[in-house]
């Protein structure tokens, strides 16, 4: 077990090291200059050179990488060029809306996806199944920015139920913040429910064909008990994995939705950082997001090993 842990952990470090190098090289390989953006249209070449020096951007790339790596190894992600605060602090401030948004979206996705998937599987081949499958296909193909704008026009502009954008007023209570997250969470939830529907349907179909389900039926149990108690429990394991991964994906991937709804989350932080070439923020955020992914994968590997004796440790 210890050796398994050690090798997995070493692998994790290797992945993170590769990510660090890639992130650094890719951000610098893209053209563009944060200082020209910072100083505005009237800045002279001399001003730009002076400020580049202040931020150490005049040094050769390997030297800059060395500095950055040294800091990162000491747990310091650096200082943002534009936000006047450390990258770690900027990330922490953005974690709340993004985490809440992901959780709400996954909850909505599950609330839609599970029942629809189950019904589809049970009534396989019926018009209801075809309807749900069709809707799922549609959901997977709609671009989130378009869907977001449509929901904004309907529920925020015409009906006035929700704010158009933002994360509540500066002095907003927690309830108001959740209220502001409802529309974006609905967009993400509905779009992601497509995947859950398909997964639930497939997983249920597998299980419904098993011998023990036939046994349960032959015992004279009602169809509801068979489906919800015997089949669903066993079908749920892969579905939960997908739900978990969906949530993890949203932490880094709700970029478009956060931008459309003006949410100050991790996704919009990264997008803004890329647009203004805030190198420390791009590097820090991507490294942290990659770290979270790797950690989740690591935990899943561990869980599999614990749950399933066939996975050798």
């Amino acid at each position: 077990m210890l050796r398994f842990l050690a090798t997995r952990f070493a692998g994790m470090l290797v992945v993170l090291a590769i990510v660090a190098v890639l992130v650094f090289v890719l951000t610098r390989a893209a053209s563009g200059d944060p200082v020209s953006v910072l100083l505005g249209d009237q800045a002279t070449a001399a001003d730009i050179a002076r400020v580049q020096k202040e931020y150490g951007l005049d040094k050769p790339l390997p030297v800059q990488f060395g500095y950055w790596l040294r800091e990162v190894l000491q747990g310091n992600l650096g200082q943002s060029i534009f936000l006047q605060r450390p990258v770690a602090q900027a990330l922490l401030e953005r974690a709340e809306p993004t985490t809440l948004l992901s959780l709400m979206a996954v909850a909505i996705a599950a609330l839609i996806g599970l029942p629809c998937g189950i019904v589809s599987a049970v009534l396989r081949g019926s018009w209801i199944d075809q309807l749900f499958t069709g809707v799922a296909m549609l959901g997977a193909s709609i671009p989130s920015f378009w869907f977001g704008i449509v929901l904004i026009q309907l529920f925020a502009v015409s009906l006035g139920w929700f704010p158009v954008s933002g994360y509540g007023a500066p002095d907003a209570a927690f309830g108001e913040r959740l209220h502001a997250l409802m529309l974006p969470a609905t967009v993400l939830g509905i779009l992601n429910s497509a995947l859950i529907i398909r997964f639930t349907r497939a997983s249920m179909l597998d299980v419904l064909g098993e011998d023990y389900v036939r046994t349960a039926r032959s015992k004279g149990l009602s169809e509801t008990v068979v489906v919800l108690k015997h089949a669903l429990r066993n079908a749920l394991v892969p579905i939960v994995t997908v739900l978990g991964l969906t949530a993890a994906l949203m932490i880094g991937g709700a970029v478009v939705t956060e931008t459309v709804f003006g949410l100050p989350g991790v996704g919009s932080l990264v997008v803004n950082a890329v647009l203004r070439r805030d190198y420390p923020v791009i590097q820090g955020a991507l490294l942290v997001i990659a770290g979270i992914y790797v950690l989740i994968n690591f935990s899943i590997d561990l869980l599999y090993a614990v749950v399933d004796p066939r996975v050798k440790v």
Binding site: S36, V37, L39, G40, V157, S165
Partner: protein, 513 residues
């Protein structure tokens, strides 16, 4: 069992109610704040560090300048007591400060603060630095006056001191640092809090000392009638439009012109605001390297351009642009017609002939543009077609803004780039190509002579005619092409009262009904 279920149901119902209905109830109490949707997160809050308009727009509420502009773009005193006493040779400016002006730290403003602030501005701000080159000395004359001595007469001095972008902001001496951490000014609002990508909060400064003259443009009496200003970045233009239509913002800056019909129909929720002669798009030519380094080729390109068509492509509705060759609108002291016969020719055959005569051999003309602003891109597309029709080969390089501002500094990478500027009251403030060293690297004896004459004439009446000469040379040497003027579109809530449209929107004297 029953009790547990009903409790759960109650909780669920309560949560649902909280999520759907709780917020609008707050709108009942009289509001003490205004929510202002801006185009982006400010690059910085140091008003000297950036010439970006957004930085000036926000920080002009916190910091003030010695002089400012009235509604007709005349320079009027703000922190200065009155207009300066200028010596007969036009080199010495004696400026008395208004007495009893309080800083946000609770101390009275003195000449030492002013000198320290202007020194920082001349050392750090791109605009201040240009001015620093002509300043011989800057000293305090007692606690309430300063003196600026110039190496040679420099007419744009007061306009430079007045401009909100790249601002010559007067700050408390002890707050001066790089980077700036405390924002201690004299303005009607104090800095309260910044949460990047969420808001910048400014709150009323109770000890503000206003001028006695009635409000006029940026000048005269300023009064913070709204207790708190909330500048909120809403980078997505459609979101700014929808937010206005939903009545979520008291002000939304720079909306796409296509949104006007919808804004006009949204009675009761929002009111469109037009800012006339808001700015001008311009094309900068690389006069140093590449195919456009030849003046004759640049002239041929100018003949091919149809600026009216380009503006139509960029702004659509004719209510939003004016196609005219004079760089300053009628009524401005700098209105001049010199060279304007070169404007909006759109003459492909003549351009083809001129290009052949100039020795143009089909080298690609590399046009650098971005989609940061849709009108840049749309105008560039149309320009490319106009040039192709005149036999030019065009290579359109569409990059993002951060890339454009970097690449334009390298003479090897481009021939023309597309940008725009606010319409400023003083020619020397924009475009930067009138100064030295800006991308395009325009530097000719004719430019130097014309600008020398323009900048050293201290008589304002003569400067108008002298600008005509400069404009003529711009049309002859084609270092840049001023495409025309466009109007800005914003929106305000019906509750926001007494808002005056301005290039840098300001919210003192405005109130919430």
């Amino acid at each position: 069992m029953f009790a547990a279920t009903s409790r759960r149901a109650l909780f669920g119902a309560a949560l649902l109610a909280a999520l759907c209905g709780a917020v609008p109830a707050q709108a009942q109490a009289p509001r003490t704040h205004a929510t202002l949707a801006m185009v982006a997160e400010p690059q910085t809050l140091d008003p000297m560090a950036s010439t970006a308009d957004l930085v000036g727009t926000i920080m002009q509420h916190v910091y003030e300048t010695l002089y400012t502009f009235d509604a007709k773009w005349n320079v009027v005193p703000m922190l200065a007591e009155s207009m300066p006493k200028v010596s007969a040779d036009g080199k010495t400016y004696a400026i008395a400060l208004r007495r009893g002006v309080m800083l946000h730290s609770g101390r009275e403003l003195t000449a030492d603060d002013v000198v320290a602030s202007l020194q920082r501005w001349m050392a750090q701000s791109p605009r201040g630095k240009a001015l620093g080159n002509v300043v011989d000395s800057l000293v305090a004359k007692g606690p309430q006056a300063i003196e600026i001595v110039l190496k040679e007469p420099y007419a744009p001095l007061l306009s430079q001191l007045a401009l909100p972008s790249g601002m010559a902001a007067i700050m408390a001496k002890e707050s001066i640092a790089s980077p700036l951490k405390d924002f201690v000014g004299t303005g009607p609002y104090r800095f309260k809090e910044r949460k990047p990508d969420q808001y910048v909060l400014l709150t009323r400064f109770e000890q503000y000392s206003a001028r006695k003259e009635p409000a006029n443009g940026y000048g005269g009496k300023r009064e913070a009638l709204i207790e708190e200003l909330r500048f909120v970045p809403v980078p997505n233009a459609s979101t700014r439009v929808e937010g206005s239509l939903a009545g979520q913002y008291d002000f939304a800056d720079l909306l796409p012109t296509e949104a006007l019909p919808r804004l006009e129909k949204a009675a009761g929720k929002t009111v469109p605001v037009m800012t006339p002669a808001f700015g001008f798009p311009y094309l900068v030519f690389n006069t140093k390297e590449g195919v456009a380094a030849s003046q004759a080729v640049r002239q041929a390109i100018q003949i091919a351009l149809g600026e009216g068509e380009m503006l139509a492509a960029g702004f659509g509705d004719t209510r939003f642009f004016v196609a005219e060759g004079n760089h300053f609108p009628k009524g401005s002291p700098f209105y001049a017609t010199g060279g304007t016969e070169q404007y909006n020719q759109r003459n492909a055959p003549k351009a083809k002939e001129a290009a052949a005569k100039a020795g143009y051999k089909g080298e690609p003309i590399r046009v650098l543009t971005s989609r940061q602003y849709d009108f840049h891109y749309n105008m560039a597309l149309l320009m490319a077609e106009q040039l192709k029709r005149a036999g030019f080969k065009v290579e359109l390089n569409v990059v993002d803004w951060a890339t454009l501002v970097q690449r334009r500094n390298d003479a090897k990478l481009w021939d023309i780039y597309v940008t725009h500027s606010g319409q400023f009251p003083e020619p020397m403030l924009s475009p930067p190509q009138l100064g030295d060293g800006a991308p395009g690297w325009w530097d000719t004896p004719a430019k130097k002579a014309a600008l020398q004459a323009f900048n050293t004439a201290s008589d304002p009446a003569k400067r108008g005619a002298l600008w005509g000469k400069v404009q003529e040379i711009v049309y002859t040497e084609v270092p840049y092409v001023n495409v025309g003027k466009f109007n800005g579109l914003s929106a305000k809530s019906p509750a926001l009262d007494n808002y005056q449209p301005a290039t840098w929107p300001y919210f003192w004297n405005a109130k919430i009904k």
